[in-house]
Symmetry: C2
Subunit: 212 residues, 2 copies
Amino acid sequence: MAEHTHHTNTEQAILEAAEREFLAKGFEGARTTSIARAAGVTHAMLHYYFRTKEKIFERILDEKMRLIGESVLTAFGQPGLPLPERLRQGIENHFDLLAAQADLPRFVVTEVFSHPERCEVMRRRIRRILDRLLVDLQRELDEAAARGEADPVDALTLLLDIISLNVFSILAYPLLAPLVGDPEGGRDRFFAMRKAENVAAIRKRILKIPER
Amino acid sequence: MAEHTHHTNTEQAILEAAEREFLAKGFEGARTTSIARAAGVTHAMLHYYFRTKEKIFERILDEKMRLIGESVLTAFGQPGLPLPERLRQGIENHFDLLAAQADLPRFVVTEVFSHPERCEVMRRRIRRILDRLLVDLQRELDEAAARGEADPVDALTLLLDIISLNVFSILAYPLLAPLVGDPEGGRDRFFAMRKAENVAAIRKRILKIPER
DNA sequence: ATTATCTATAGATCTATAGATAATGC
DNA sequence: ATTATCTATAGATCTATAGATAATGC
């Protein structure tokens, strides 16, 4: 079972080309011939290394589902900060991780959300991460509420709010950019605006309503 | 130019079957042969009435883009209510309109957001609606702020917050349902929960922060 | 006469594989 | 000997159209 020197080159080239093709066109729209051409290899090579189009796709999709889950964990997994600061950092990190691969959310929406079996796979991938994160976050929320510093909020509810705001900002950017009056090169500005707004909205969400 | 009696039947049957097929599979995944079979007509009929697959798709997509824009207008266009009530009604109406056609958001994300020319078409469709709505909503927000009843907020920002929360709730339902611990038939309950949360989050978003 | 429908098929893909040939590692 | 690559093509679709036939409205 020696390592096959050439594997890395061709196999990797195929995977990289496949990632671009699948992300851009989706499973149905992607063509194995285009992938082969983009990878600079013969079409037969795809089947030699991966047997079928499905199997190449699964490799890409799996990696992307892992990334989505990890982005949430990485973003919110920072320990030992005061709650408002932890939330701000979490939201901004999460936003930035998505923005760095802006076609990822659309890919997951398209290829996962309408395929029950793929949903099931993704759920298995994120459940552990989510559970661990939620227990931790809920404790912090409860403690802040007990100290009278925040309204009591359900951790999963709050996390869904955050993900909704962040994901939609990235998803809808191609549609919204000109509507928001961004003439040119305004991607960074648009993202900065939405990121700040999402932080503001979530901060207010946990704000304690004062007695009148 | 008399009306062609038979048009309505076959043409309509094709459009209805095409809608189901395109919504379920997207443009690339949809098959004109499947559409013909589902419509109960010969395959050649599709091309007799619509010439190409593209043209059938455009009809469906156009209708759906119109619906999306209209749902926003219908939801928030209620006149003469106090601001918090208007927002609550708007959010709930918008949510319900989306929930009634739960595959619509995913369809638009998939078929519009990654196609610049379709984005442009959609923008033209919603710009007028949006402008009218925003002027109106911004005035109400400003007045409430002037009266000291609300924080000053940008109307478009607030509308994007609302749409983000509502759309993502519907989009991600297939993935989230079992995670939220909905064992069976929990669709309505899940939707009710998210709808209430979205209203709560937006209400707090415009809440005036009291001086300490 | 015009409009609607059907049968049959052209023409273009696309995925997958068979089988030959070259490169590589013992 | 095994692994990697290429050429060529099978086999399955899929969109679109040609051309004949039936139905409809003056």
